[in-house]
């Protein structure tokens, strides 16, 4: 094979051609599929009805601003729940890792806690705590559904986050602990300086995915009162008897969750690559 005048080898030229060809094929097949969808879908019998029920542009335009402003509640609830979840999750993870016999009740507590809160649907916890606890006779403002609904989310998610942290702690190779021990470091120093910093770093992507799930589950608070995005969409739906506001809500969720999910996927892929 000789280098040609353009500075490209015959192979590179061939590959360029092949690449151009495959781009062309890909474009063509994509266009064909798109055209089929765009032409065929409106030909289905119920299309008009579905379009006006789910994709009514005027309704979307009219309701979108209020949806956006309701979404601020989701964001706010999310923001105050996240640190609490991280903190509580780490605490529970450490409970489950406690080894001294006197701490046995802590370990049992950790196990029960994660079992219960991972085992019951979030929505049930939201109902139980969000409706139930304020019903015990708390006075305003301490009976706010924002407080107790958020607590329900915090309790549930910290159980998942605790398990993630625990997996992180266990994923730190035994020989790291052995190396730290062999230097004469104490148990707590080993956990604090050697194990946790590595564990927490490793579980960042998994925790990002939990954040996405949390962001979506904030919507469940709407069932106990707070007028956040989902409830606002539901109100519009009820008044307009049209489901387009739900589509608007879905768009808002996607705008937040896709980038974060993607970023988490990217981090996980990077980590897997670094590990292999």
């Amino acid at each position: 094979m000789k280098t040609t005048s353009a500075g490209l080898t015959a192979r590179q030229i061939y590959e360029q051609k092949a690449r151009r060809k495959s781009v062309a094929v890909a474009t063509l097949s994509t266009v064909v599929v798109m055209v089929l969808i765009v032409i065929l879908l409106p030909m289905t019998p119920g299309w008009d009805r579905v379009r006006s029920s789910f994709f009514d542009w005027d309704i979307l335009a009219k309701t979108f601003p209020s949806l956006l402003s309701a979404f601020r509640w989701d964001v706010a609830i999310f923001l105050w729940c996240t640190p609490a979840i991280a903190f509580l999750g780490l605490f529970i993870a450490l409970c489950r890792d406690a080894r001294a016999p006197a701490l046995f009740p802590l370990r049992v507590f950790g196990v029960l806690y994660t079992d219960i809160f991972r085992g019951v649907p979030v929505i049930l916890i939201v109902f139980l705590i969000g409706f139930g606890v304020p019903g015990l006779g708390l006075q305003r403002p301490w009976n706010s559904p924002y407080i107790w609904g958020s607590l329900a989310l915090i309790l549930t998610y910290s159980a998942y986050v605790a398990e993630i942290f625990r997996a992180g702690i266990e994923s730190v190779h035994e020989s790291q602990r052995a190396a730290a021990k062999s230097l004469g470091l104490s148990h707590s120093d080993i956990m604090r300086f050697v194990v946790l910093p590595q564990a927490i770093r490793r579980v960042v992507p998994a925790n990002m995915n939990m954040l996405v799930a949390l962001q979506k589950d904030v919507a469940l608070l709407s069932f106990i009162g707070p007028v956040e995005l989902l409830r606002q969409a539901g109100v519009h739906k009820s008044l307009l008897a049209n489901f387009t506001p739900y589509v608007g809500a879905a768009i808002i969720f996607l705008a937040v969750t896709i980038p974060v999910t993607r970023f988490a996927d990217y981090l996980i892929a990077k980590q897997n690559k670094a590990r292999s």
Partner: protein, 252 residues
């Protein structure tokens, strides 16, 4: 200040009234309770006035149905949202005297009537029913009609109607004014198949104003309501906002 509610409200000199989110026609017109238009909105302002709160001393808030009938402290002084008075609920919240006795009506779509459904219990048994969960309508369906298929349950009116549009259910039971509204406005081909009269002895459905358990306002509200009944104001409001309902056949 001499009126009986003085000092008993959440915020001084202001009566906080809750309604649903959204609030439905014809109970509240255009989801705007402050207009005084709509049956419950009008009743609320009248009751407030008789308790010593002029129009500008009334503040509206919103609360979901479930949220309102939970035990515990409330975010409102009084709440009108077509709450049926029941014994179980009386244990955890307080209700005023009834301000409306609701007939219960069967909402269907025209094709169901064309399919041969009539206002007779035997015919109703074979329909697929949908009901709002958590309301007393469910008990009425189960005890009075006892349908062959278990009813499907929904969280609000529009979901019931949507299921009806999707042909997932044939019939739904609502209080008559709501049923009239849904059949006339929300459904293209809605119709009322029949009604259980308001003065029925079994499962009577009477709406009360809801207050926190042990609310000191209960006496004032009751006093205002009975005065309204006595002087015919309540009947006048009802006549203004709720349609004549005699056109709907009674269920046999």
């Amino acid at each position: 200040d001499t009126h009986c509610a003085a000092g008993k409200t959440l915020s001084p000199d202001v009566l906080t009234i809750a309604t649903g989110n959204p609030a439905y026609y014809p109970w509240v017109m255009d989801d705007d309770p402050t207009s005084g238009a709509g049956f419950e909105s009008a009743v609320a302002y009248e009751v407030a006035k008789r308790m010593g709160f002029e129009k500008d001393a009334v503040v509206w808030t919103r609360a979901t149905f479930d949220q309102s009938i939970q035990p515990g402290a409330k975010e409102f002084d009084v709440n009108l949202q077509q709450f049926s008075i029941t014994e179980d609920r009386e244990k955890v919240v307080d209700f005023s005297e009834p301000y409306y006795s609701a007939a219960m009506a069967v909402l269907v779509r025209q094709p169901t009537i064309d399919g041969g459904a009539t206002a007779e219990l035997a015919s109703l048994k074979d329909l697929k029913w949908g009901v709002m969960a958590g309301t007393t309508a469910l008990e009425t369906v189960n005890s009075a009609i006892a349908p062959a298929d278990t009813p499907l349950l929904y969280d609000d009116n529009v979901n019931v109607v949507e299921a009806m549009k999707a042909n997932q259910i044939d019939a739904a039971l609502f209080d008559l004014p709501t049923a009239l509204y849904l059949s006339a406005v929300v459904l293209d081909d809605g119709a009322l198949l029949g009604q259980f009269a308001a003065d029925r002895s079994e499962n009577p459905d009477q709406f009360g104003i809801l207050m926190e358990e042990g609310s000191p306002l209960k006496a004032c509200v009751d006093e205002a309501l009975s005065a309204m009944k006595d002087d015919g104001t309540l009947a006048a409001i009802e006549a203004e906002w709720l349609q004549e309902t005699t056109g709907v056949p009674l269920i046999k």
